[in-house]
Symmetry: C2
Subunit: 209 residues, 2 copies
């Protein structure tokens, strides 16, 4: 065996080795995607051999799920408590986006079947497939605006799970952490106004106590 590269002939065991394997699996997963992940590549990346992996996880699914859990256990997100909903949302969306962008990449790592091989993102694929610009919503909204039903400049491009659904959507589409502008839009121009609206006109719910 070659001893020059890194650790001087040290042979890992137990948890340390396991962590290295799962890290390698995670990396392979984000790069190649689930269906592109091979035991071989994981073993090589972890500087070991296939049998070492097979002894722990005999199926790809279990290996991958273990790798994902391991990755997230490694850096848990602590939910912010700023004292206000707005502050919590800003903080959590920023945090979740930065820390979980790889989750979207991972989820898309499944998508990666197509995308990793071709270098396409989901958004790019949509563009390539749908043509350039004029899509349904644009047409309808333009029409609506022409009828005076809506002012597109007054309605930003972007309520309970809304911010998270939209963030997840954004992450899936771009494979990048969302921008500050995105968060501001979602929180201050969508979520909070909707909250206000529904608190003003919502059904007269009374707490059950």
């Amino acid at each position: 065996m070659d001893l020059e590269a890194d650790g001087p002939s040290t042979r890992r065991r137990g948890p340390e080795l396991e962590a290295a394997l799962l890290d390698a699996a995670w990396d392979e997963l984000t790069e190649k995607g689930y269906s592109g992940l091979t035991f071989d590549a994981v073993a090589e990346r972890a500087h070991t051999s296939r049998p070492v992996i097979y002894r722990r996880w005999s199926e790809r699914e279990s290996l991958v799920l273990a790798a994902i859990r391991h990755h997230y256990d490694a850096e848990p997100i602590d939910i912010p408590d700023t004292g206000s909903l707005r502050g919590d949302l800003y903080a959590l969306l920023r945090l979740a986006s930065d820390r979980r962008a790889d989750m979207a990449v991972m989820i898309s790592a499944q998508l990666a079947g197509l995308f990793s091989e071709t270098g396409m993102s989901l958004g790019t694929a949509r563009e390539r497939l749908l043509g350039q610009g004029t899509i349904w919503d644009t047409v309808i909204l333009t029409r609506a605006q022409e009828r005076g039903e809506i002012d597109l400049d007054a309605v930003p491009a972007r309520v309970q799970s809304l911010p998270f659904d939209l963030m997840r959507h954004e992450l899936l589409m771009t494979h990048e952490p969302v921008s500050d502008e995105f968060i501001a839009t979602v929180v201050d121009e969508m979520f909070l106004p909707l909250v206000a609206h529904h608190m003003d006109y919502g059904n007269g719910v009374v707490p059950p106590d």
Copy 2:
């Protein structure tokens, strides 16, 4: 060759054959996903052989993209014009969801690397990976509700691209056409209120003429 099954010994050519190949590719794509699609399976499904495919598309990517284009050219969505934004939205969301659910399935067909092999949907995967229920948004919103900042019952689970982003998100998560309840929620409890809000309080934009 076997002549009993269907068409009596007729040998397809040109456009007819090409359409059959692309249909077969589409079907394989939705069933197996991009990375699970093989020239072999496509050929077999089209009742022909691999060389016939290779003569037209030598790469998987070009075959798949051609298949997707062919599929959507076959049944284009005509944008509804009901006379009102609300009506247009209801109609278009319904139509797009029904007709493009397979698009999400297709997009997820990429996701299918993991999901087709394991029978998981993206939503199921999220559940399995995140645990049972108590996630960020729930915690924060519960907190906010406890502070009286928000009434969860008054704010439904669900602005310009909002309905479509949310529908796309929904399709990706469930792999099913969205429900009428989903459309109603998005349109009447999210999008339209936001439109109203932003038209009332939006920036005083003046048409540039």
